[in-house]
């Protein structure tokens, strides 16, 4: 035993489903325990790694609770502590870390049993935590530290981008900071290209912290790897952001599915959405919006509507909705430049694209643009993937699409229709995955939630939100108590595919000059890498 292991107590009862009860030694005070801390349990054949999920008090004789002893006498209090009165902690074992060769190679394994009676429980040492969460390397990105520890918790980003992921939390709990960190990680490790639909223009050039302090965002840290697209040139110029491309969308790009998705925000009826398909068929795919809006209040229009079996009130409802869309300044009747082509060009070069919405933070614009672009990009990726499969060539570089206010896209009513619902479900088949950011996870379709690989959640206090985030996770009730006790800042619970077990982290620092330096690979290592590459090429 090295010096840093601190004995806490012994296992007294438990089950695999519910976790084990640990009776604390008299030397370990209940008040020093904290939910979310790590412990190791020394079983007879294997070591278990688990997390404290509850702390409780016990008495050996019920009489003590009825006639409490005089604890003002320190001698009495000291004798009784840990013997007649004791603390218990509830530990959920998650992994086994063995000492034999096989387990060293395979790393920590999920638990399939519980430790035997009276196994010793120790506070996990730095080394144990490191063994479980790994060190920083080419694939792993350091995202934060466990509570009360200096060890790094690292996310396996290669695994992360293989599935859709979610970042949740109440407003002001640090979702944006976490997202920025994660995007930087993906960018730094180059595991995937990012496409960010940046509703509040805070990921591209710079954002602001809660204290209104400016913090650098992607483009400032990695100028050569990030392109900022904007929908609102003026706003970008005012904020002195150098943009790479101004996105304009033509009416001809809008398809009936896009309108269907906007049903709620535009307050359209179901009949109006059906009418869109009819009009689309009638006028052809290029001009249907223009043609519909050009219809005048004449007899021919009435005849047309009767022929198409569209009720007059439905038509008016639809027309009002389309007028709203038409008022969006970035929508033009015809656009010479195809934004999708541009985005793909950048993504193909491995350059990450951040699309700023500027002043158009209105949800209609966001849903319309995000859905429209994503659908086409996804179609392109699908085509390429199929081609790659057919011709046995390299598949396209993975793409991660970041969307905010995700419950608007992925709520149960629309998730089956939108492309985002599809991406979340079919996951990695086409190398496109989502990074979903939301503050009301209960609004997201259960099916989509269940498909998410890794969930990172900051403090949530709404019961329904907590339930939906934790749906389908083993040890839900234990995690629930951990989740609702997170601090409102800089703390997050990560669980899912890319971490071996649920972990509460204190998020890595972001915003100081030193923190920026850590993200950017130092020129020396880059030069060194280049030199190594040159030498390799020389010998080829």
């Amino acid at each position: 035993m090295n010096e840093e292991t601190k004995r806490l107590g012994i296992v007294t009862s438990g089950s695999l489903a519910k976790g084990v009860e640990v009776r604390l030694d008299s030397s370990a005070s209940v008040e020093d325990m904290a939910v979310g801390r790590y412990v190791t349990i020394e079983g007879q054949k294997q070591r278990f790694f688990g997390m404290i999920t509850d702390v409780s008090l016990g008495v050996i004789d019920q009489k003590l609770t009825l006639t409490p002893p005089d604890v003002s006498d320190p001698f009495m209090a000291e004798v009784l502590a840990g013997t007649s009165t004791y603390g218990t902690i509830h530990v959920s074992p998650y992994l086994t870390i063995g000492g034999d060769v096989a387990s060293l190679i395979e790393g920590p394994q999920p638990v399939k049993t519980v430790p035997s009676h009276f196994s010793t429980v120790n506070l996990a040492s730095q080394r144990d935590v490191e063994l479980v969460f790994g060190g920083e390397d080419e694939k792993r990105f350091y995202i934060g530290t466990p509570l009360d520890m200096e060890t790094k918790v690292c996310l396996d980003l290669e695994e992360l981008v293989k599935r859709s992921n979610g970042i949740f939390g109440k407003s002001g709990t640090g979702k944006t900071f976490l997202t920025r960190l994660l995007l930087i990680g993906i960018l730094q490790k180059g595991t995937a290209a990012n496409l960010v639909f940046d509703m509040h223009s805070e990921y591209g050039w710079e954002g602001r912290s809660e204290e209104r302090r400016k913090v650098k965002a992607l483009k400032q840290l990695f100028p050569s790897k990030v392109a900022v697209f904007t929908l609102d040139e003026e706003s970008s110029r005012r904020r002195r952001v150098s943009t790479d491309f101004v996105v304009r969308i033509g009416y001809d790009e809008i398809e009936p599915e896009d309108i269907g998705l906007l049903r709620q925000t535009l307050n359209l009826t179901e009949a109006s959405v059906q009418a869109v398909y009819q009009l689309y068929r009638e006028f052809g795919n290029k001009r249907w919006i223009e043609a519909t809006l050009e219809l005048e209040d004449r007899d021919e229009t009435k005849q047309l509507l009767t022929r198409l079996n569209i009720h007059d009130s439905t038509y008016r409802n639809l027309r009002r909705g389309l007028e709203t869309i038409r008022r969006l300044p970035f929508l033009l009747p015809h656009v010479p430049d195809n934004p999708v082509r541009h985005i793909l060009e950048y993504l193909d070069q491995g350059i990450n694209v951040v699309l700023e919405f500027g002043r158009y933070t209105d949800i209609t614009a966001y849903i319309l643009v995000a859905n429209l672009l994503t659908r086409r990009i996804h179609a392109q990726y699908r085509e390429r993937m199929e081609k790659a499969l057919g011709e046995d060539t390299a598949p396209p570089h993975p793409l991660v699409i970041t969307i905010e206010e995700a419950h608007k896209f992925l709520n149960p009513e629309v998730s089956s229709q939108t492309i985002f619902g599809n991406i979340a479900r079919e996951m990695r088949k086409y190398n496109v995955t989502l990074l979903v950011i939301d503050q009301r996870p209960s609004g997201i379709d259960d099916e989509v939630m269940s498909q998410m690989g890794t969930k990172i959640t900051c403090l949530l206090d709404n019961e329904r939100d907590i339930d939906s985030v934790l749906a389908g996770v083993s040890g839900k009730s234990e995690l629930k108590s951990v989740l609702s006790r997170l601090e409102s800042k800089q703390q997050a619970l990560i669980f899912g595919h890319s971490v071996p077990m649920p972990v509460v982290i204190r998020t890595r620092e972001y915003g100081s000059a030193q923190s920026y330096k850590e993200f950017i690979p130092s020129p020396e290592t880059e030069i060194k890498q280049q030199a190594e590459k040159d030498i390799e090429e020389l010998w080829e």
Binding site: I60, L64, F75, M76, V79, L80, G82, T83
Partner: protein, 197 residues
């Protein structure tokens, strides 16, 4: 030598306890002190649970003699034969033994021999013996004329005197008692009240 002080001689013995007579009147060791007696190759440890002073002849009770004396001392001075007619005895409950240089906290295979000498244990011996609190269980479960609460408290108070950190010793002993008396909180409380410093 003060360390191995001889305090008496065994006059009655059984597996669980022995009675020793003191060489001097009123010189019995204090209640709860650790004493030992030797047998061939074996040492028996006992804890003093009782002390009596009676006359030698069972049917003959002492009578009050001090009516005309001014001090108690004068009574004995006036009748020096008294010292020869009275005897002090003490009983010790056997709590462990040492055999082949190994200390055991359980009953020895054989009781003490009559006329074995009884010694008061030295500081080192007390320290060594009290490394384990297993003897507390014997004290709790033996039927004695004196209440086990009193005896345990007295014993722990005696033993704690050889430790520099008396309190730490008593807390450790208290914790052991708390486990042994897990269902009898009132008894535990009574003992703790008697040993608290």
């Amino acid at each position: 030598m003060a360390e191995v002080q001889r305090v008496g001689e065994v006059i009655e013995a059984s597996t669980t306890d022995f009675v020793a007579q003191c060489y001097e009147l009123y010189q019995s060791p204090p209640l709860g002190s650790l004493v030992k007696t030797r047998d061939s190759g074996m040492e028996l440890y006992g804890i003093v649970y009782n002390a009596t002073t009676t006359s030698f002849e069972p049917g003959r009770r002492p009578i009050a003699r001090g009516k005309d004396e001014t001090t108690e001392e004068a009574v004995y001075q006036a009748s020096p034969q008294l010292l020869k007619l009275l005897k002090s005895e003490f009983g010790a409950v056997v709590v462990g033994h040492r055999q082949d240089d190994k200390l055991h906290h359980y009953l020895p295979p054989k009781p003490a021999r009559i006329h074995s000498f009884v010694y008061l244990c030295s500081t080192e011996e007390i320290k060594e013996f009290s490394q384990s609190f297993d003897f507390l269980n014997i004290l709790l479960n033996t039927h004695l004329p004196v209440s086990p609460d009193e005896l345990i408290a007295a014993c722990l108070r005696q033993m704690s005197q050889v430790y520099e950190d008396r309190r730490a010793f008593l807390v450790a002993a208290g914790k052991e008692l708390a486990i042994l008396l897990s269902g009898q909180f009132n008894q535990l409380k009574a003992i703790l009240e008697r040993i608290k410093t």
